[in-house]
Point group: D2
Chain length 357, copies 4
């Protein structure tokens, strides 16, 4: 309830700062009897690691996850699963000059305002490093929903103003930006290099898709599936917008265009994005998130220090130029967490009385 726990039945509580000894999480409510190992979790974490595209930081973290509890002889026991990742390559010294200055676009000022104290090293708790713990938990959730036939994936639709124009199936696995359009992927690479050279940064748009989602997930009227997906995505550091299905385009469509007709063979299209009245319809869940540019830039910016004196700030440290593509797997992880939680919540009451008749 303190803001660091997500989920109602399948829950994750994350902890840790960028430059503390470790980050980690406790996953509660995972059903017992599931095969679970550190090896099974590692691939999702590896996808979040830096150094896999031109857009990412030079910080080198192994991000080796350790399971400290909840697993016995390779299977979950139904008890809390404690996961930990050590922080190894934290160079706190390089943040010394930021101790008394508020970086624009970061949470420096607001953390100070809220708590009266902040760990300035690497952004402390507000660092994107916190998402490593989300991904570790999301990897557990992915296994749970996989058991029910669900799978979550993502694509990069846009980066630095470059939009994917085609969707070549599987192409997203062929380039470091997870872009389904090979031409756009090249343009993205070029854009990243330009922007990096200019000491600036960019954002983009990620699309998350969940397949195999059974009808019935979501708990109206507040805990709707789309509402919790919006919550989950917007809780990721750099995200400034979320759409389900046709999203903002729906606002300009006619009802006769936007409604998805139904035939005996199923829905004729999926502008709804797989959710009707907050409950999954059995179609793919489709979510798009807008990712803002990385706020840490080398270009000089106007800001103030903790004494409210004007300062010109240039941030040279080890930062990504774009949160994409590392943020993609974080979005996937959050979707997995949402679906795992709703799966269990739905199971609790589903069909309880229907067998009666």
């Amino acid at each position: 309830m303190s803001g660091n726990t997500f989920g109602k039945l399948f829950t994750v509580t994350t902890w840790g700062e960028s430059h503390g000894p470790a980050v980690g999480c406790v996953v509660c409510g995972c059903p017992a009897g599931m095969e679970l190992s550190e090896q099974a979790l590692q691939p999702m974490l590896d996808r979040r690691r830096p150094g896999r595209s031109a857009a990412s930081t030079a910080r080198r973290e192994e991000d080796r996850v350790r399971i400290l509890s909840g697993v016995f002889r390779g299977k979950t026991t139904g008890t809390p699963i404690s996961l930990i990742l050590e922080n190894k390559d934290a160079r706190s010294k390089s943040y010394d000059h930021l101790e008394n200055v508020f970086r624009p676009g970061h949470g420096d000022y607001t953390y100070q305002a809220k708590y009266g104290i902040r760990d300035h090293r690497g952004g402390g708790r507000a660092s994107a490093r916190e998402t490593a713990a989300r991904v570790a938990a999301g990897a557990v959730a992915a296994l749970v929903i996989g058991r029910a036939g669900m799978e979550v994936s993502s694509l990069t639709l846009a980066m630095g103003g470059v939009w994917a124009k085609t969707h070549v199936p599987g192409e997203e696995r062929n380039n470091p930006f997870l872009c389904p359009d090979p031409e756009a992927a090249k343009a993205m690479e070029k854009r990243v290099r330009e922007v990096k050279k200019a000491g600036d940064s960019i954002g983009g748009v990620v699309q998350v898709r969940a397949t195999g989602v059974p009808p019935g997930l979501g708990e109206p009227v507040f805990d709707k599936l789309d509402a919790e997906l919006a919550w989950a995505m917007m809780s990721i550091g750099a995200v400034k917008g979320v759409e389900i299905g046709s999203g903002f385009a729906a606002a300009e469509a006619l009802g006769s265009e936007n409604n998805d007709p139904v035939t005996p063979e199923g829905f004729a299209k999926n502008d709804a994005g797989g959710v009707l009245a907050g409950i999954s319809s059995g179609q793919d869940i489709v979510v798009r998130v807008a990712v803002k540019p990385i706020p840490s830039i080398e270009k000089e910016q106007d800001t103030v220090d903790t004494n409210n004196r004007a300062r010109a700030l240039s941030i040279s440290g080890r930062h990504d130029v774009c949160a994409i593509p590392r943020i993609n797997v974080v979005c996937e992880a959050m979707a997995c967490l949402v679906l795992a939680d709703f799966l269990l919540r739905h199971r609790a009451a589903a069909g309880f009385f229907s067998k009666e008749s």
Copy 2:
């Protein structure tokens, strides 16, 4: 936890179906000693009532709210506030022909899939009528945050593809669509009449603004202010997208453009929408929501019945042509609920140890 309660400390639990005897809610956690009367709540409810613009249904509900508990001699006592609104003009007969058919774009199919039973009359629990209870609760929340200097308002930015191009201060109070651009308001009226005539429907974009929000509200890393706003807005029936501040436009901007510089006089602009790292910055909170077209249309649509047989459906009942402008006050109510909850959550721990030094 069942999905019908919103908030952690300042909570609302709503109940009621479109064609049951009443809808209502229980508001818990409201601080004691606040002046509260039915009269004080009514204005927000009146703004949600049908019949105030060309876009709205002919259903006539007085929506007179009654306070059943939690108030003594005109003041809140800190105990639960039970609010009730009778359903008076429910004509269930007119829904008889919809009993065995799934209306496209509605929750008919998903409710049936989830619960194995549904109240088809007027959409049952999935009806927009449920939002009357949200507004009643939001009106209580508005009084709470008002005490702390916060105020929430909304504007219609777009409707049926017609966008406001200018923002004449206060103009939104001069037209029934709450549009800040008088020319656009006229075009919206025209658009509504055309669409109605064509048996179709439209959507739009609403912008919600909260002023007077102190720095420090929001509880990272999951219960961020923007994340809960996204959740809150997306939990409203017709909403398909949510943006904070520059939103999707941020995805195309450079970091040097998107960051809000800080000067000793404060932030130089507000692309962040008043939230940094999930915590309010002291600037206005700005949220935009995409509202889909009303799914009930007279135009014939393809669908199936509960036996999965193809059906051609034309819905002629008493429906809005556009959820705007009635949805505006619902968006405001949800923002009030989010802010009231975070205000109390922040108060719980704020400054607890700082007085020490």
Copy 3:
């Protein structure tokens, strides 16, 4: 979270004051498809009504429950069930002289200290009248757990120092005190009349038993079945102690005496009270609660008024002499609520992966 909601998946939120227009509750998370009617709920409420024994108040409340939502054509729909009971025989005038005085043993002083305001009429929110809403919700829960073969009942073990010495099966249904010992029941009646005459009051001990509870209910390490039962019982106004199984007697026993041996035919006895390590074992759940004497007495007591001036107080209104036997059904209701919630929580994850192998 505000303290007026109980349960995680099967939840009840109660509202209402003793002398307001009504009391009621919202039950969320009830599985869909269950037959539910006002008639089915009424019997449990009738057992809580005053006037059924010499120990009870002269206040006459019909306690007729109305269902306002969540039921369609006689079956639950999975949406919130709003239940309401009007307050009809509230004579607020008779509380005028108590407005500025703190009644010993009541919550007058503490409500004033906490909220800075209190509804003094009939004890306001702290009145035992609030338990009518709990019983209404408990009646719904009883139907849910009944579907799974569980049943909850209660006995009066002691009242005003008179203890049941024998347990004649079914005898508790033959006397107004629900005592299983016919001799003790007579002595209780005599004790009540003596005490009433002396302007005093008494308490007693109630034993609640749940039969048919399947193994596996309870969610360690905090939400243990016995822990939530203790919480539930102690949340009832007059309860000052709770025991599970052998309870305080276990503190004096040897391990070899207290452990319940297991044989291929099952447990050899039930000193554990049906719970091991916080999870139901399949044996009967046995809980005993200590009920304090009614604090409202005619005998003169020392107290202070709201200006902290000494006052001698004699309370003559319409009060029970003993909370037993009316409190018995409230204890049962709380046990039903606990079991219904744990039943759903257990269903969520139970056997999810075991089918795999």
Copy 4:
């Protein structure tokens, strides 16, 4: 919500099994700016360590707590505090013979029934070792409530049928059983040695007292202070009964005896145990808990194995003879957690509108 988190605003989530690599917890909601170090937490953990009385196991755990997050330059930052304690002296081999047998009085059978799998080594999650994490969190809570002037302590009232008859102030610090009566302490020691020799075990009664508790803590009607204390205490492994104030004795008293008269100088006595209508009154909070005898005994017991075949079992491992006195600090820790949570919950809304007038 999964059962491993306690609290609403000041929360603890524990994890870990007896023979896993470590146990630990995440404390969320701790106010920022509090001085916190591993040294400050260690003393409470040391009091729980084995080997401090004749009653305790020979297992040797250093129980050195490490802080992994949430503290910066010696002060809390308002972010989650991750605490970890390594398991060093776990001898899993000695549990091999218990793998397929259900120990009477333990959770072996119920864990197997609930989860279909269990870590049998040292009791796994159901081991008392789990309470080390509670004490670590309780030590943080103790610092928080200490800031508000509250302090929690405990006494041993009874052990193995030996009751303290006098209360010599401070005497509980002079003997290993925390008994306030020096003669009883000697008799307890004798009792422990007899019982150990006989291969049996004993239980006892612990009294917890909180001083300096301000009026107003507790959130009726369900989250009453006494109700959550009962929950908290009953959630500790061996606890079978909980009383507040006069407790079960209240059930035999007259109202005129049990009510605490009030005078201009304050309450005349404290039979209420510091709680009226679920809210603290400003008097000391007094709670007594009944602790059952340790279920692991050398004396032969009847039980079954996982194939439901009869087995005669003698448990010789390293076990306490009595949970007292090690359990005392666990009870204190739980009381600290309850009070810290209610302190924050009360602060959230307290006095919000009273300044107005």
